[in-house]
């Protein structure tokens, strides 16, 4: 299969060149997905999907076009090459479009490519039974458990030729707590793993998340408004860094010129205890990226190192246009360096604040301002975790917040996609009714 896909990718590149492309790239993949679904606490669906993908990109005279299909027979490749060049011909020239010019080709095998479907179903049944026994107030609104086996190949006109054969299991849960007619907010939790050796409940933060949601059926509302400390649970840290990486350090903010960090490369932008890496090659990341969309070998790198802006998360086009170094991978495999204190000690040091499990907010502005509802959250008072909260809003500024770090926990949650600690920030506006 892999050799066949590599030949298909190369033939797609040749087709683009024959159609007139100066530079060309093709990605080809074939995937088989097995997926079990639970809805409303009961098994509902078993799916098997067979999928193909072909993406062809041409650059002609600095003009770029992309066409994607889910077939890759000879006729489709020829038609797509023609359509791709037609799309490129309509663009205005921009010399900054390019692909990876140096090839260090390799074939990768990642994760557990072939599924054990019977054992996967056993783990699903086991998870449902364990949740029922250990967390009797939890309603599993939806559980999606799948294995995806993917063969893929990438070729470009500089000679890059990569392939991967990979597979992993993905567990995605959506659940809420119920007691009579009272209910908690829903919560989503998930993991990616390449092994079925352990029960799912022992992975990531699934058990802790379920336990927390059971405690969120009874809620209280914050009285008035105060400035306090916001402790983000590891799963909630993600939403913060998505904004940082897109609006402050990513292509969107830098190409539009709106990034607050556009002139701060190498400068301090955060507390010196903060180091944020994008690390698909880390051994805790399952089936991480091995080559980028433009055909470079993926490498780990630090976006923020010891509080300083170390690199921007830019693709090759944006890097060329802005005359800045490109990011060394395209992944969102975020790893935040741990602190030294246990989370219990950090919470014990807080007079008044909030422990936030999920942030439901408007898209933060490019100036960093955010405001939204603290969901699946608890009040912190006098060093202790208090009651769960509802209708409580939090507001602040992301850029300012990074310089008002109170602490980072020693504990990290590893879910196969990211490695994240708890993070506590001072100076957040917390308001109820």
């Amino acid at each position: 299969m892999i050799e066949s896909l590599k030949k298909t990718a190369q033939s797609a590149v040749s087709a683009l060149q024959q159609a007139g492309a100066d530079k060309a790239q093709a990605n080809v993949s074939y995937a088989i997905t097995h997926e079990f679904n639970v809805d409303g606490g009961e098994f509902s669906l078993f799916r098997t999907l067979f999928d193909k993908q072909l993406a062809m990109t041409a650059i002609q005279g600095g003009k770029k076009g992309t066409v994607a299909q889910n077939r890759y027979d000879e006729e489709t490749i020829a038609a797509s090459a023609k359509a791709c060049l037609e799309a490129a011909a309509s663009a205005q020239p921009d010399e900054n479009w390019d692909f990876a010019p140096i090839s260090q080709n390799e074939d990768f095998v990642l994760g557990e490519p072939k599924p054990d479907t019977d054992k996967l179903f056993f783990r699903c049944q086991e998870l449902m039974a364990s949740v029922k026994e250990r967390f009797p107030k939890i309603m599993m609104e939806q559980m999606i458990v799948s294995h995806k086996e993917t063969y893929s190949a990438k070729a470009n006109s500089y000679g890059a030729l990569f392939s991967t054969h990979e597979g992993c299991y993905e567990v995605s849960l959506m659940f809420s707590g119920h007691d009579g007619d009272k209910a908690s907010s829903f919560f989503g939790s998930g993991v990616i793993t390449d092994s079925l050796d352990k029960p799912f409940l022992e992975l990531g933060s699934l058990a802790e998340d379920l336990a927390n949601v059971e405690k969120q059926i009874e809620t209280t509302v914050v009285d008035g408004k105060f400035e306090g400390t916001m402790v983000l649970m590891p799963g909630c840290v993600t939403s913060l860094f998505y904004t940082l990486l897109s609006d402050f350090a990513g292509e969107q903010g830098l190409l539009s010129g709106t990034s607050l960090w556009k002139d701060k490369l190498g400068e301090k932008v955060a507390d010196e205890r903060i180091t944020i890496s994008l690390a698909p090659l880390d051994e805790r990341i399952v089936c991480g990226e091995r080559y980028t969309g433009e055909g470079f070998r993926a490498e780990n790198y630090d976006v923020i190192k010891d509080g300083r802006l170390n690199a921007f998360a830019l693709g090759l086009y944006a890097a060329n246009k802005l005359q800045l170094p490109r990011g060394r991978n395209d992944s969102f495999n975020v790893i935040v360096a741990p602190g030294h204190k246990p989370i219990a000690d950090i919470i014990a040091s807080i007079d008044k604040g909030i422990l936030v499990g999920r942030f439901s907010g408007g898209q933060p502005s490019s100036n960093g301002d955010f405001s939204g509802v603290a969901k699946n959250s608890f009040l912190i008072e006098n060093g202790k975790i208090g009651p769960a909260l509802s209708e409580t809003m939090i507001a602040g500024n992301m850029a300012d917040m990074l310089n008002r770090l109170r602490d980072i926990s020693a504990e990290q949650v590893v879910d196969g996609m990211m490695v994240l600690p708890y993070m506590a920030f001072d100076g957040i506006t917390i308001s109820g009714k």
């Binding site: 999907l49 809420s176 829903f186 408004k225 190409l255 408007g362 100036n367 301002d369 209708e391």
Partner: protein, 455 residues
């Protein structure tokens, strides 16, 4: 599109093609220039209360047999290990509903040249902007459906839109943003847009708003306030805060609507309907005539005079709740199974005039634009607000900077005391629920009480 498979296809089969054409100009540079197509066939089999499903990216007689076999095997596996002791769904009268037609698939240069004309207008007329983005996006979904118990169908759903985003420098030296969907809706690009000049007035209006926001914008005062939600926000309320809680699969999962059926959830002014294909004598923004389970689509009345009277169902949940399925089972790609989804969900208009609504507020806000919204199965919602005005002593005053509003839907709807007599529809977005899905949403101006975030 190949011809429909025969009835021997099995319990449920669907061939489908999704097209997407997209051009993105960021500060004049073409950073997106993509055409995609997803095409294939799927089969779904129901056995003993559970489903088996399979799909493949090729549509031939052979692959039809393959996916039907795989779906049957999957259904048998799950029925054996987790069956629910249920028989087949209730019989439905067979029919064939055809609304498809040949799509005019335009060349990419049409989109790019149109976007460049809009960008040139913005760049030349408003050089003080920090950044500008023009996006043209067109998608379509063609479905060929064959079911063993219900309606066969052949439908097509094209949409096309232009988004314009602007960033200006605020008075405090920090950037402020606004975006607007310029025209568009159901139909191919050439049907919805004739010439770039027709869009200039709306673009100029967007610039006027961002200038107001940048120069004079203030944060609202945090707390529970009387507000008027403009039609874009009341449509989002209909979809996010109410609609999702009354999707029957979420009701089964424990949503707040479960214990509220046939109870008061809003003031007697509040009526909410998920329209299928026709509303107020006109086609809905995204008309649905038959769903992906073969149910002929009809309107789902959800709230009538403030009372929750119904849910949105698929065939299985309708049997569970002893309701009639109304065509809410929809799938996005050929490889997706049908889920309970909204179609065109709207708060119905009332009898008040907007100016009278504004005049009735001594201290509050008129909230007009949003950039996103989320809601919980408890009905607790949060909407980002990107533009609006203060209302002081019955008059519009200073413009607002970005803020957030929140509330609990079935509490907040009880505070509704005025609804305008005109409504707005929107259809450019995608609803996310395992799969994306194009949906329409709409509403009038709604006067109510919500929590507003301030800063």
């Amino acid at each position: 599109m190949p011809r429909a498979p025969t009835r021997s296809f099995g319990p449920s089969g669907r061939a489908q093609r999704n097209l997407n054409r997209r051009a993105v100009l960021l500060n004049g540079a073409l950073v997106g220039n993509v055409r995609t197509e997803q095409f294939g066939v799927s089969a779904r089999v129901y056995e003993n209360g559970v489903y088996g499903f399979s799909s493949t990216a090729e549509y031939t007689d052979e692959t039809v047999k393959d996916v039907l076999k795989a779906a049957s095997e999957n259904a048998a596996f799950l029925a054996k290990h987790a069956g629910k002791g249920k028989g087949p769904h209730k019989a439905m009268a067979p029919n064939r509903i055809v609304t498809a037609y040949d799509l005019n698939d335009l060349e990419q240069r049409t989109y790019i040249e149109f976007a460049q004309a809009l960008d040139n207008h913005i760049a030349s007329k408003y050089p003080d902007l920090v950044s500008r983005t023009v996006v043209i996006t067109c998608d379509s979904m063609e479905k060929l459906l064959c079911v063993s118990n219900g309606c066969d169908g052949h439908s097509i759903m094209p949409r096309s839109y232009i988004y314009v985003m602007m960033t200006a420098m605020g008075a405090d030296g920090k950037p402020v943003e606004l975006y607007k969907v310029i025209g568009g809706g159901y139909g191919t690009f050439d049907r919805n847009y004739t010439k770039p000049e027709d869009c200039f007035a709306e673009i100029d209006g967007l610039y006027d708003r961002i200038q107001q926001k940048a120069k004079d914008g203030v944060y609202p005062e945090a707390g529970t306030k009387t507000v008027i939600l403009g039609g874009i926000l009341s449509g989002m309320l209909a979809h996010e805060a109410v609609g999702h809680t009354v999707e029957a699969d979420l009701v089964i999962g424990g949503s707040v609507a479960g214990p509220c059926l046939n109870k008061r959830v809003g003031s007697e002014l509040v009526n909410l309907v998920d329209f299928a294909h026709t509303a107020f004598g006109q086609p809905t923004p995204l008309p649905i005539y038959v769903d992906d389970e073969g149910t002929a689509a009809t309107d789902a009345v959800l709230i009538k005079d403030g009372i929750l009277v119904g849910y949105m169902n698929n065939r299985e949940s309708a049997e569970r709740f002893n309701m009639v399925p109304q065509g809410n089972a929809r799938a996005y790609l050929f490889s997706d199974e049908p889920l309970i989804r909204m179609r065109n969900t709207a708060v119905l208009p009332g009898k008040s005039k907007l100016e009278d609504m504004i005049a009735s507020i001594d201290d509050g806000y008129y909230l007009l634009d949003t950039n996103n919204g989320q809601a919980d199965t408890t009905g607790e919602f949060m909407f980002g607000v990107t533009f609006g005005y203060e209302i002081k002593k019955g008059k519009l005053e200073r413009p607002l900077l970005d803020t957030t509003i929140s509330g609990v839907a079935f509490d907040m709807l009880k505070t509704v005391d005025m609804l305008s007599d005109e409504m707005i529809w929107a259809s450019s977005g995608m609803c996310g629920k395992k799969q994306p899905m194009p949906v329409g949403m709409g509403g009038p101006a709604v006067k109510c009480r919500v929590n507003i975030g301030g800063r």
